[in-house]
Symmetry: none
Subunit: 413 residues, 2 copies
């Protein structure tokens, strides 16, 4: 079943409103196994809406519109579509009763233009609106289903969950299941390269990759009528994913690297502390976006200046003078001294040059030392990151999360 979503509203075309309706509906319908093949947006313009509807009726089986059902002059979706199907608009007594009650309940005075909403196309199914005044409509003719939903997201979602889900489930018997694999330390094109043989012949399941900074999310989606068959297909591909990506898989879910690391720390009860120079608190900030992290995170220090490195972290003046703030030795003292203050299991330190200034030939912008003290052992890793200041900071944070995960996983094995 091919589906098309038509959004009606000039506010979308002038960029006043972000179209979250198609995002919501696309996700919901995909999970029901319905292929959404097109989104179309058109303004409050009856001629263009009619043309767009005609095209949709040629290429799609299920058409869902949002918007243009309200009481005002420019709400024309119902009128245009009724005309297209050769249907008269007739008053629906139940809708009128609900509408009057709606205004009584809220002690609002009803203006006359509201009565427009009580007109529905003959022989259409009326969908009640639990969160507003405009009812929805479903028309089924010649193998095509057209569903008209209101534009305000709250009303649209209420009607979708309340009526449309049931109507669609009744009509189809397909199961669609997706599994997600999140990878680190590999680029999108390199990841795709390893899956190319499968992507080239993909049918069921389908494979999609999505790149974020330092992460690649792979989605594998299978469909079928039998849950066992669908799961067997997904299991087969899961084995391939593990074989081909192994340690690059940091989450069998959509979790970001930082979220996966946060969960791992909490699950294994590994306490952590941070001492950041060039990332300036980014690592602590990312970690503490996660609920419940206080169980394992208590201490974070942003020792941005040498003064702070000496005063709070007790890095020796001699170390800073001899090797400089950006050095293996400073990173090592930072995380080892942090351990003494925090008493945490895992102590991370970062010192580097995020730029744009402060670089030299010997120590260029992007040079970063990461110290990691875990259960008595300290390692310091030298990295060279490319990019602007924010990218260097973000890449450093991602590398730190990657190293934290590796340390914990290695210790477990």
């Amino acid at each position: 079943m091919k589906c098309e979503l038509i959004s009606v509203g000039t506010e979308l075309l002038v960029g006043d409103t972000l179209n979250t309706n198609v995002h919501y509906l696309s996700k919901e319908l995909s999970l029901l196994g319905i292929s959404v093949c097109y989104h179309t947006t058109v303004g409050d313009n009856p001629k263009r809406l009619e043309e767009v509807m005609k095209i949709a009726l040629q290429r799609s089986d299920l058409i869902i519109t949002t918007g243009g059902l309200g009481p005002t002059q420019d709400d024309l979706t119902k009128e245009v579509i009724s005309k297209l199907f050769g249907k008269n608009l007739v008053q629906d007594d139940k809708v009128k009763e609900d509408l009057l009650q709606y205004f009584v309940n809220r002690e609002f005075v009803m203006t006359d233009n509201n009565l427009k909403q009580t007109l529905v196309p003959e022989n259409a199914t009326v969908l009640t609106n639990p969160r507003g005044t405009a009812p929805g409509i479903m028309i089924q003719e010649n193998g095509k289903t057209v569903i008209l939903l209101p534009g305000p997201p709250r009303e649209m979602i209420g009607m979708f969950e309340g009526s449309v889900l049931k109507l669609i489930n009744k009509q189809q018997d397909q199961l669609v299941v997706s599994r997600y694999y999140n990878l680190s330390d590999i680029g999108e094109s390199a990841a795709e390269d390893r899956l190319l043989d499968l992507i080239d012949v993909q049918d069921n399941p389908t494979i999609a990759t999505y790149a974020k900074m330092g992460e690649v999310l792979v989605r594998i989606t299978a469909n079928g009528k039998d849950v066992k068959v669908v799961n067997a297909l997904l299991d087969k591909y899961e084995a391939i994913m593990i074989e081909r990506f192994g340690e690059n898989i940091f989450a069998f879910s959509k979790d970001s690297l930082c979220e996966a690391v946060g969960k791992l720390l909490m699950e294994k009860n590994v306490t952590i502390a941070t001492a950041e120079s060039c990332t300036g608190g980014l690592i602590a900030s990312e970690l503490t976006k996660q609920p419940g992290i206080s169980k394992v995170f208590g201490f974070g220090i942003v020792s941005y200046s040498n003064e702070a490195k000496k005063k709070i972290l007790h890095v020796k003046e001699d170390t800073l003078d001899t090797f400089g703030a950006v050095s293996t030795e400073t990173a090592r003292e930072m995380c080892e001294n942090l351990q003494k203050i925090s008493d945490a299991d895992l102590n991370v330190s970062v010192t580097g040059i995020a730029g744009p200034d402060g670089g030299s030939e010997e120590k260029p912008v992007g040079l970063v030392y990461i110290g990691l003290n875990y259960k008595g052992n300290t390692q310091v890793i030298q990295c060279h990151f490319k990019g602007d200041r924010k990218i260097i900071q973000q890449k450093t944070a991602n590398k730190v999360f990657h190293l934290i995960r590796q340390s914990i996983v290695d210790k477990m094995e």
Copy 2:
């Protein structure tokens, strides 16, 4: 000139990605006086993309596509559109050189599939991509203009601002100039309300408001053929903005509140230190995203646990026992003790309940105390923020930046 935006990408049709590109482009184009009449979204499916392009060429003069320009197998926009215009794809040496350099700069190994990006339709204009590898393309034939932009919003916006704006401006023979005013401590609808008389009759200049958390950006765009006339129009509206918003204007630019505060601190040479509990390093992290901030920022402490508040900030056990970690008294000790450690001019402390757990009837989720010690004076402000964990953290950070700015500006007057 009728414009149509075509978004290419299965991730949009399955609801994995929210289509922010059409929102951005619709707003930008509308402000340039271009009527966007249709948005169409189609998957990574060459046959459907071709059909959709044919329809667009019939009904629109300017067609802008986003997505499908990358290195992977499912990136097909350029191929489909070149075929439709009967154009061969030929290698562009400059594009190839840029691409190779891109990988050299980042010390990445380039996989062969990337070379696909160096092919461009004959006689097309190449648009450089300042933020990625896939170049954009412009084709002009038979009175129709087709512009192909990459899908990742960062790259798309970079290319739109860097190349497309100029190309459109050239064609329009018009000068379009925008000025920005960034407001804090006022909501978007309240801001719009104060401008309603101007918005209602807007023609030239046009006024647009954009809401971000705790900030409202107002853009005033004037057009004309003469730079003097355009500037005079903008000056007139600038006077109105100052009259109506006064101290709410924190930047005469797109600068975020944090960026404006960072610049103010550096310009006035006011040193600052932070002690964060519920924001977990967010304030330090936002500040240190700015180049040169080390001039004024040296010390940040993320005292997430009570242990850290005692050990690093020397908050008295008695204070924590009697008043609790989330209290005026703790916030006060945090910032006053921080001053002794940092010796900074301005010392900020934050303690609160970001949730979702940890709230009580007496101290609900969203209760936050902000301490501000500036040149010997300490004030503590109690706030109640609504929203989820991340929103509470972000609103807290924004309030802190607002208070910092106010303190410095007040002292100056």
